[in-house]
């Protein structure tokens, strides 16, 4: 496909993983990341639900993008996203009831998560269906990665397990990590860490350029 912006399918798919990570770089859609990352199981369920909604709503919005009048596009996007979230909500109620109970109101709240609406406005309204679908999947993977990172960290330091498998004894338990304040602490420390890594890497690059 001819493309003026130099976007290949692969670059669209991978943009959301690290460079444009919705959680750590764009700082969007934090509510579920903080609220349901108390265990790796919950984080995986929430991440997959969001990934599904993102991919399908991006695809669908891209199909109908040319027939939506510009003035009312936001309400239309929200209605489309709400329809898919309702489906996901009912599916999870039917097939994964325990997970549905422990995620609670955060599943219907995917509707008002900034990421699907943000991607609809920024990407799906301007690109073809296939690219939009890839963008949704890529952003969904970025979100899934971030929420899993938090979920695994918090579960590990709360009870010494990952997905319920025993890793180490309870001697390393930091009990605040699983409480609400712990979510802020863990994500803040990760952000500082990522920024530090980015800084060290850019310094190394600069040094490498000088030595040439």
């Amino acid at each position: 496909m001819a493309n003026q912006n130099g976007e290949t399918n692969l670059s669209v798919l991978t943009a959301g993983w690290i460079k444009q990570n919705p959680t750590f770089v764009q700082v969007l859609g934090l509510c579920p990341v903080l609220a349901v990352s108390t265990s790796a199981d919950n984080a995986l369920g929430m991440g997959l639900a969001t990934l599904g909604v993102l991919a399908i709503s991006n695809l669908f919005i891209s199909f109908v993008r040319n027939i939506i009048p510009n003035e009312i596009r936001i309400p239309v996007y929200i209605s489309i996203i709400a329809a898919f979230v309702t489906m996901v909500n009912l599916l999870m109620h039917g097939y994964t009831y325990d997970l549905w109970v422990s995620l609670g109101i955060y599943i219907p709240l995917i509707v008002v998560n900034c990421i699907p609406l943000g991607r609809a406005e920024a990407f799906a309204s301007k690109h073809g269906p296939w690219k939009s679908f890839l963008d949704g999947v890529g952003m969904g993977i970025g979100f899934l990665g971030a929420i899993m990172l938090l979920g695994i960290t918090r579960e590990l330091f709360d009870s010494g397990t990952i997905f319920g498998y025993h890793i180490w004894s309870s001697a390393y338990d930091v009990f605040v990590v699983a409480l609400p304040p712990g979510a802020f602490l863990v994500i803040g420390l990760y952000m500082g860490l990522f920024r530090y890594i980015g800084k060290v890497r850019s310094q190394k690059k600069a040094q490498g350029d000088e030595s040439k």
């Binding site: 903080l34 936001i74 209605s79 709400a82 219907p108 008002v112 998560n113 420390l189 920024r195």
Partner: protein, 196 residues
């Protein structure tokens, strides 16, 4: 009426302090970190959120009766989101006309109340707990006041922090998260208040 006033006030204060929307339920995070650099914008945002939350909380409760009467409860999410979107549109027009300075200060975050999970969150929580009308009103008001309290406190701390020297890698967002951690720890102390 089943609940007496003591219970209603307990409900309101627990929604405001113990189950604080921002610090223990993590609803409305975008605005919590987005508009908390200045106290003025935090106050403006809180007023807008309080208004939208209370009005949409009550109208959603009434609409839900209609949905149940027509046996279409599965439309809840869709209907509530559209009601909130319409309300926010109305407030946007109102603020633009009456207070352009505040309108400019709130910027993108005013239309974004539509996607503020705190508003839809309170509506869904009220329904999940199957509150009656009075309980809905008190719970909604308490949640809204809790939102205002937390975001204004947070903005005050961040305003003070912005003139401090921080380790460079923690400047900006990471420092904001650590601040929220400390604030949230403080609010955890209220947990002991409501046990009965």
């Amino acid at each position: 009426m089943n609940a007496n006033f003591g219970e209603l006030f307990a409900l309101m204060f627990s929604a405001m302090l113990v189950y604080n929307f921002l610090l223990s339920r993590f609803l409305g995070m975008c605005s919590f970190f987005g508009v908390s650099q200045k106290i003025d914008t935090a106050v403006g945002m809180s007023i807008a959120v309080i208004f939208v939350m209370v009005v949409s909380g009550i109208s959603a409760w009434l609409l839900n009766l209609l949905l149940i009467a027509w046996n279409v409860e599965f439309l809840q999410i869709l209907v509530f989101v559209l009601v909130i979107a319409a309300l926010v549109q109305f407030i946007e027009i109102f603020v633009k006309k009456t207070n352009p300075v505040l309108y400019n200060a709130l910027g993108i975050y005013l239309p974004l109340i539509t996607t503020n999970c705190a508003v839809l969150g309170v509506v869904l929580l009220n329904l999940n707990q199957s509150y009656d009308l009075m309980q809905t009103i008190f719970n909604t008001v308490g949640s809204a006041l809790g939102y205002a309290l937390a975001i204004i406190l947070f903005a005050s701390i961040r305003e003070r922090l912005s003139i401090d020297e921080l380790p460079p890698v923690f400047e900006g967002m990471p420092a904001a998260f650590i601040t929220a951690f400390v604030l949230s720890m403080g609010f955890m102390a209220f947990n002991g208040m409501i046990k009965a």
